[in-house]
Symmetry: C2
């Protein structure tokens, strides 16, 4: 299936007013429960705007606890709709809001640059500024049925792309050459490409193919795995390593086909790989099996991490777990519009699982001399345990024809 | 040329200590000249870290006016070197800096989130916090010879990729199908993919292919051109439009092959296109010819914009210039590590051209019923005028075999 104008209509679902109201109600209930008790939020982050309006625009969403939300739109210039006001600059909001200024205004203080916060604050001289970051993060952590449907559709396409990887491999390929062919197939399948990450701590282009010992090259970014990358300006992922017999190829490619992403990793191999690598891969699958049952609403996210480490220790594989030269401090994370949503599955996480969290679990190992092994799936949290949104074969898949 | 481990060594030039000193000296001279007069900068932005150290790392560069700069590195954990200190969290800097705390500390206030600025400020309780944004922007606007060499090498690869576009076209292709084939060739030529943009106001994946009337779809982003995009979560660029006779295909794809980007646009056509579109394309070329001579050190950036508008008016093409339904407010911009550097070529720009500025000029038109026309080149500012770093045929190039 190629993305043509007709098939694209499947992907281009703008928010219905009922769905928008559902999300606004959720944010408002979190505003009421928040210790800082904002009377209104002023949202500028694109991912949060997309969540609350179904589209990305340059401007701001003003969301009061009571009364109608207002979209203040700078670009595109022709965007129209109820409660949409065209502005040239943020200061133009003041006239519309005169007489209804909030006492406590929530801004995304974890994301918005200092200078922008100062500029926006000056438009609300009477308001005290509080953080909206935790509210928006908590709102987006629990997905609506429509959001889960979009993630599910991304998962179907994601699995389809991975099923074609063995046919894309040609003798003598490097990691990056294989990655480029996967990128092509993925884009033709409808992948939007953009790898949405909240904040600016991580950068990556379209995903990560790790071959052999490049998996053991430490990266500056907070991804689970590293790789040296092709250039010091983007030190992550494929580095031109030739795919040789006895090495593994770990594929962790972009799963954004709908505006909502799945996160999924599978491992491929050339020739016979070491028994230690096979054992570690099976250990990853065992962790998934046990966590799938254990992860129900009410489960502390940290206990999933503890359980994973316990299973790893039973297998004596600690020194390879979540990296070897550099080890990641988490085994999973929320996923949706962005790749780093709540909850965080880490030792000191205070997050408690809720129904309709969507989480990626990625217990992985780096085995020196062989490469990276282990799988990652994206799951929905349900009262019966985890529902797999990336159902595809989980064994190590041979690249040979 | 494919990116293999041997060819990659050409791309992987880490900064020599002489080159690093050159950049640090430049930043320090701007610190001394700055009205806020910082005694030290604390740099966290990846593009600025890459500029000052030749690599990306998670952490901070502390750059005092006098004394040695110190890299505080959180990840990768094994990064070592002179004046490199490993930290787990920003607060760990305090011990190293005790006794040499600055009176006025410069942070990148236009880029760093409010909450991060608050956290970093608390580590320097005696310091007043001032902005380092203008200093870093001004430093990076004038390129060193080594930086220009990296941009020049990107330009060579960028031109090579564009020369292959006519062979990539197949009958019946949509914009996105052609784009995916260009992406593949570009990546195999060594394109790093990541489209580096300062701040979070713009998002794009690998570049923009605009066909026919999709060029007239307004986007939220501050790019010169728009396009509806494939999905409301990423409303820019190709939207699945079929390439039909009489339409133009504007290619404005990622030129980052070395960590430094060129920005380059060329136009392709299928069948006979309208005389108005051909006239507008020639007008763009005429603007380039005249600005190439006019743009010397000391020229106000705004005067280039004025000259372009004057030429457009002579041709009676104002209503198509820089867009039709939505018009961009600039005709050019600095380019280097990121796509939106200084100087800005816009009506109200206060920037004055300096030798070794690198600027992209993109006088473009959107002709309803045909599509976008006009070219974009990346130029170096020299006393003799502009030197073209993206030398490639500038006429409208037929896609037919």
């Amino acid at each position: 299936m190629k993305p043509t104008q007709s098939s694209r209509s499947n992907l281009t679902i703008l928010l219905s007013s009922e769905e928008q109201q559902r999300r606004i109600d959720r944010v408002r209930s979190l505003m009421r429960a928040d210790a800082a008790a904002p009377d209104a939020l002023l949202i500028t982050d694109y991912a949060n705007l997309y969540y609350l309006t179904g589209r990305v625009f340059a401007g701001m969403l003003y969301l009061p606890l009571d009364g109608e939300p207002i979209c203040f739109v700078r670009r595109p210039v022709h965007l129209e709709g109820p409660e949409t006001k065209s502005i040239r600059k943020p200061e133009d909001m003041a006239k519309t809001l005169a007489g209804t200024m909030p006492g406590r205004l929530g801004l995304e203080l974890d994301l918005v640059p200092y200078a922008t916060v100062k500029r926006l604050s000056a438009i609300f001289p009477e308001a005290s500024i509080v953080s909206a970051s935790a509210i928006m993060r908590a709102a987006r952590a629990v997905k609506t049925d429509e959001e889960i449907e979009m993630i599910r559709r991304s998962g179907v396409s994601h699995c389809e792309v991975y099923s074609r990887i063995p046919q894309l491999y040609q003798d003598g390929m490097t990691d990056i050459e294989l990655q480029v062919e996967i990128e092509r197939v993925s884009r033709l399948e409808g992948c939007l490409g953009e790898f949405r990450i909240s904040g600016s701590s991580m950068e990556i282009y379209m995903g990560n193919i790790l071959v052999g010992d490049n998996a053991d090259a430490a990266s500056p970014y907070d991804f689970a795995m590293g790789g040296a990358g092709l250039d010091p300006s983007l030190p992550v992922g494929a580095d031109g390593t030739l795919i040789t017999p006895g090495t593994t190829v770990m594929a962790d490619m972009n799963g954004d086909f709908t505006g909502y992403m799945t996160d999924m990793t599978r491992v491929f191999s050339l020739g016979e790989i070491s028994p230690l690598a096979r054992q570690a891969h099976e250990c990853s699958r065992e962790i998934h099996r046990q966590l799938r049952k254990m992860a129900v609403p009410g489960t502390p996210a940290s206990s999933l991490n503890e359980k994973a480490v316990e299973i790893v220790k039973q297998h004596g594989l600690e020194k390879y777990f979540m990296g070897h030269r550099q080890q990641a401090g988490f085994i999973g994370h929320g996923v949706g519009i962005e790749i780093n949503e709540a909850p965080v599955i880490a030792p000191r996480s205070r997050d408690i699982l809720e129904a309709n969290n969507v989480i990626a679990l990625e217990p992985k190992f780096v085995i020196p001399g062989t490469g990276a092994v282990g799988i990652e799936n994206t799951y929905r949290v349900t009262p019966e345990g985890l529902e797999n949104l990336t159902p595809a074969p989980e064994e190590i898949i041979p690249l040979e024809k």
